[in-house]
Symmetry: C2
Subunit: 288 residues, 2 copies
Amino acid sequence: MIQRLCVIGIGLIGGSVALAARAQGLCREVVAADREEEALRQAEKCGVIDRGYRDLSEAARGADAVVIATPVGRMTAVFEALKPVWSTRAFYTDVGSTKASVVQAAESVFGRVPENFVPAHPIAGRELSGVAAALADLFTGKKVILTPLPHTDVRVLERVRVFWQRLGAEVHDMSVAHHDHVLAATSHLPHVIAYCLTHLLGRKDEKDEIFQYAAGGFRDFSRIAGSCPVMWADICLANRDEILKLLRQFEGELQRFDELLSRGDRQAIHDYFAEARTARQRFLDRHS
Amino acid sequence: MIQRLCVIGIGLIGGSVALAARAQGLCREVVAADREEEALRQAEKCGVIDRGYRDLSEAARGADAVVIATPVGRMTAVFEALKPVWSTRAFYTDVGSTKASVVQAAESVFGRVPENFVPAHPIAGRELSGVAAALADLFTGKKVILTPLPHTDVRVLERVRVFWQRLGAEVHDMSVAHHDHVLAATSHLPHVIAYCLTHLLGRKDEKDEIFQYAAGGFRDFSRIAGSCPVMWADICLANRDEILKLLRQFEGELQRFDELLSRGDRQAIHDYFAEARTARQRFLDRHS
């Protein structure tokens, strides 16, 4: 049993970690640190946490489990504030959507990544932000990717694995670089595309109708364009090289399709669509 | 009460029209025409229709309500087959995702669009195809856009409006050109983007992992890339000019974002995302 769980950054994900840990009876108390007084008071009021602190070191002092749930752009500052109160008896994990940048932030502060910090990425979220959107079952049945380093303490790794499993998640391991490579494709590029399409269509004169008739196409795109801009600006910068590489490949892909459509090649367009559908179907068949 | 409803093309949409009309008690019998014997037998066996015909004219003869639910590329051939049995006492409507091409097909066969044909587009669908995927409530609460012409018979227009309303839909009117302009943005371009992204990622070595970790981003994109390739090749060709115009605007949009990300301008990236989110939120606030 965790005596004191400390959640740093009490937004959608941090709040859901707190709620889930409480619901599962994993900890005696939950404290949180956040720069916004308002978020802390709201989290206390809704019973998400026992106590909130503006001062990060104060919140983390004495905790035996620390979950860092700030936007990835804040990680260096968070590690700096944690450093004076870092405890070798506690385990530390995070929820950042990019992992190389988190590892770099830890290295820049500690020299090398502490053995009791296990970088993690829960693939769960909502298009809503803030602690009010937190859910006790946000991680249920969702995947959490751990990216331990070669020198990560294996006992801590197992504690962190069990922690996420008990929050309801299916836990997978990956290398840091591989995580960022795969997630650029599955998550980061799609978010960029959704933001770009929503930005383009949201500037049009007929934008009201476009949103109104958005069922079955643009609706899904605009939904993920409702995600938190601070968080996604951080992710884009943290995984810039992978995202730019894919973005350019995607631009090339659109140009290839543009050519097929410009010359009105029905068979080639049909085959192109059929190939995309087959790629998806092959995967679904294998995993159903 | 409709005596005989004839559905031409008994796939997902045609099958759902038949099921919904029966469930609502709108017609005494439902017949269907389809080029595929297999689809007809399946529709008969599942009780979706009373009788199926390979011969389109035979199916439509004597029907007082005809719904054309073939891919839009087939419309000219369908109108040609309907012409000898066209009845001034019946009403005719369709379900095509593009409307200018349907109107052109009717004009090419009849000289001008018959007064008792009301072009329609139900904004409803699934990523599954075929009559087995048909649902009696597919249109419940969904929008159907009618694009009547200046010379469309107003009594027929009202019959067709009531028909779609009784299938559960919310019916809106639009001009043909405006429909194609708006739908290129809300539906056609998003489908093209989804197909292109799925094609690109489906060719990658790590494609299995990409599909596996697709939650919350690529999942929505790949879902609509499961749509029927024949239908979507037809739509792209039928609304080619509008789609190409938007596709190029979107390519320009990606290039603008590429520049922001390349120069690592956090504030500009944040503002760009925030603007997209605001455009969506403004719409949701107004319509909630």
